[in-house]
């Protein structure tokens, strides 16, 4: 807001300038685009072009070797909607996103409070919590796969030694169990980022606010729900939306642990799309799946824009 008045001052100064300087003013007018040009160009070429290319491909007939054989109308889409597994895959994807994000946000709220509290060794605990963020998701998924191994996995060993199980369970062979374990891994890798964003949010709440609440005789729970949570809204919003996008697009966890199998029983839209393209060699139909997937993301983006009231925030 301070910049606006400086800006108007500048505008007034240029208004007073003689007409002879039009050329220079044109040059001045182009300056902003020099500053934002490279970023815009990079996004246009590498992010927006694939969007266009994907939509185009979804309407084309592509041979299994990748050669374009001309237009295909909406055949790719009708082929996609004829896939018996599609409905299951989409429903599973939505459950996967909702489940992982809700659990992540709830645990992160508690975790952020814990990391904000004072105790000896707090820095070390914070470093420990960061580790799954720093580690590649693929590698984390692979170690969980190893820990869940039927014969040699540490999870079965511990449960057998504690007499919770009587014989080893092949966790990843059963779709429902596999899905729950993969959701857990997704939560595990999402927690560091979400709790650090919330922790950052907690630290922006001035101490005086709590002081005032205490003077008013507000109890712990009341203070939390009436003051802390509402003030965390921006942080929660950004943590949740980034988490939604990441989880929705999460490919390595499922790819490493079950490859969406058995059959399509643990596929989400992204692994399903990948299999159509590179296993079934049907790039056109895969692009159609990608467009459907992308439409789902766009809906979420619009919801986010409404929630964040971006116009007010950008100002």
């Amino acid at each position: 807001m301070q910049d606006t008045d400086v800006r108007t001052r500048g505008a007034r100064a240029t208004a007073r300038a003689p007409r002879a300087r039009t050329g220079r003013r044109l040059g001045q007018a182009l300056i902003p685009y020099v500053w934002i040009g490279p970023a815009t160009l990079l996004i246009a070429v590498v992010v927006l072009w694939p969007v266009v290319e994907m939509i185009r491909t979804s309407l084309q007939k592509i041979s299994s070797s990748g050669v374009t054989l001309g237009s295909n109308g909406t055949t790719n889409y009708s082929d996609l909607f004829d896939e018996g597994d599609l409905v299951h895959v989409v429903v599973r994807t939505l459950l996967w996103v909702a489940g992982v994000v809700i659990v992540t946000m709830v645990i992160s709220l508690a975790l952020a409070q814990l990391l904000n509290a004072r105790f000896p060794g707090r820095r070390v605990v914070r470093w420990a919590v960061i580790v799954p963020w720093a580690a590649s998701v693929l590698m984390t998924a692979l170690v969980w796969k190893w820990m869940l191994d039927n014969y040699f996995g540490v999870v079965n060993e511990v449960l057998l030694d504690l007499h919770v199980l009587h014989k080893p369970v092949n966790w990843l062979a059963h779709p429902d169990q596999a899905m729950l374990w993969m959701m857990w891994v997704a939560v595990f890798v999402s927690l560091p980022f979400a709790s650090f964003v919330i922790l950052a949010g907690l630290q922006t709440i001035p101490g005086e606010v709590y002081e005032a609440a205490r003077v008013d005789g507000s109890g712990t729970f009341r203070t939390y729900f009436r003051i802390t949570l509402p003030m965390l809204r921006p942080a929660l919003l950004i943590a949740a939306i980034i988490n939604v996008i990441n989880v929705f697009n999460s490919f390595p966890i499922i790819w490493a642990m079950t490859q969406g199998g058995p059959g399509h029983a643990t596929d989400t839209t992204t692994t399903f799309m990948y299999k159509i393209a590179f296993f079934d060699q049907n790039v056109g139909e895969s692009a159609a799946m990608a467009v459907v997937n992308f439409a789902l993301v766009l809906v979420m983006v619009l919801l986010y824009l409404r929630a964040s009231r971006w116009r007010e925030e950008v100002r």
């Binding site: 301070q2 902003p32 970023a39 509290a117 692979l142 170690v143 079965n156």
Partner: protein
């Protein structure tokens, strides 16, 4: 647990260690342990001799430290690591070169197209390479860039750029303009004022942007899996799963390599953890 935050004021007076504090510390340490446990299991597995992998035991009977030496000979992981470093490093530099000026200018000035640009940034933040991988693949085929490092660098730079611009924009906007104006009065130009005054104060934001991009690129999997085919152009993420296939199961090498990849990044994080919280604040508040 909020009580702890409220209590800090009261705790300023020296008090005997309370029971609650002991419990809190215990819980916190257990939580910390839970987060590193899978990576400890990685380490234990990486230190097992191959014949002990297929035997259920918590710890190796013989600690095979030589696995960490042998793995370099078992597969060309040095080459894959160079690819990962090059791609992540170059992507980070490209992101900063494109992102810093845009974030700075939009935070300081209003001009026609500013809102459109910020909306573009906000929307493309939501685009992930995974969702667009088919389009990226087709584009790289069209540009004849499949199986090149350049394509990996561009993709990683571009997809991390929006978040970085957003964070930096928030950070720059939170720095009072008066600080720069003082530098202007001293005769410094706009760029000099940016480099001498604003950038140093913005370090938390810059560090967050750098780390976010570097980690994102270092860990990227699906695009690299799709557009690289020669083993010597594959980053670590694509190369390591080949230690465990239907023909061979070298879990010890897989996890030794994973740790070699993870440890430097964790150390990087430890150094910047302090900045990170400040940087993330800018992104979420503005």
């Amino acid at each position: 647990m909020t009580a702890t935050t409220v209590r800090t004021k009261a705790a300023a007076k020296p008090k005997p260690v309370s029971f609650r504090k002991v419990i809190l510390t215990g819980v916190a340490w257990l939580v910390g342990l839970a987060f590193v446990a899978p990576y400890l299991e990685m380490l234990v597995t990486a230190l097992k001799p191959e014949h002990e992998l297929m035997r259920s035991s918590y710890l190796p009977t013989k600690w095979e430290w030589s696995n960490f030496v042998d793995v370099w000979r078992a597969a060309p992981i040095w080459q894959n690591m160079k690819v990962s470093l090059l791609v992540a490093g170059a992507a980070t530099i490209v992101t900063l070169l494109c992102g810093l000026p845009a974030a700075y200018y939009t935070a300081r000035n209003r001009f026609r197209g500013r809102n459109a640009f910020l909306l573009l940034i906000l929307i493309t933040q939501m685009f992930a390479p995974t969702a667009l991988v088919i389009g990226i693949y087709r584009e790289m085929v069209a540009l004849n860039l499949t199986d090149t490092l350049l394509s990996l660098i561009l993709v990683n730079a571009a997809f991390n750029l929006p978040f970085c611009v957003w964070i930096l924009h928030g950070y720059f906007a939170s720095i009072p303009k008066e600080l720069e104006e003082a530098a202007f009065l001293d005769g410094a130009g706009r760029i000099k004022a940016l480099v001498r005054v604003t950038l140093p104060i913005s370090m938390p934001g810059v560090v967050t942007a750098v780390v976010y991009t570097f980690i994102g690129a270092w860990n990227e999997y699906i695009v690299a899996l799709t557009i690289t085919s020669s083993p010597n152009r594959q980053p670590l993420t694509v190369a390591i799963p080949s230690f465990v296939t239907q023909y061979q199961e070298h879990w010890q090498y897989l996890f030794a390599t994973s740790l070699i990849a993870i440890v430097p990044v964790v150390i990087l994080f430890v150094f910047i953890e302090r900045y990170l919280i400040g940087g993330l604040t800018a992104g979420s508040i503005k």
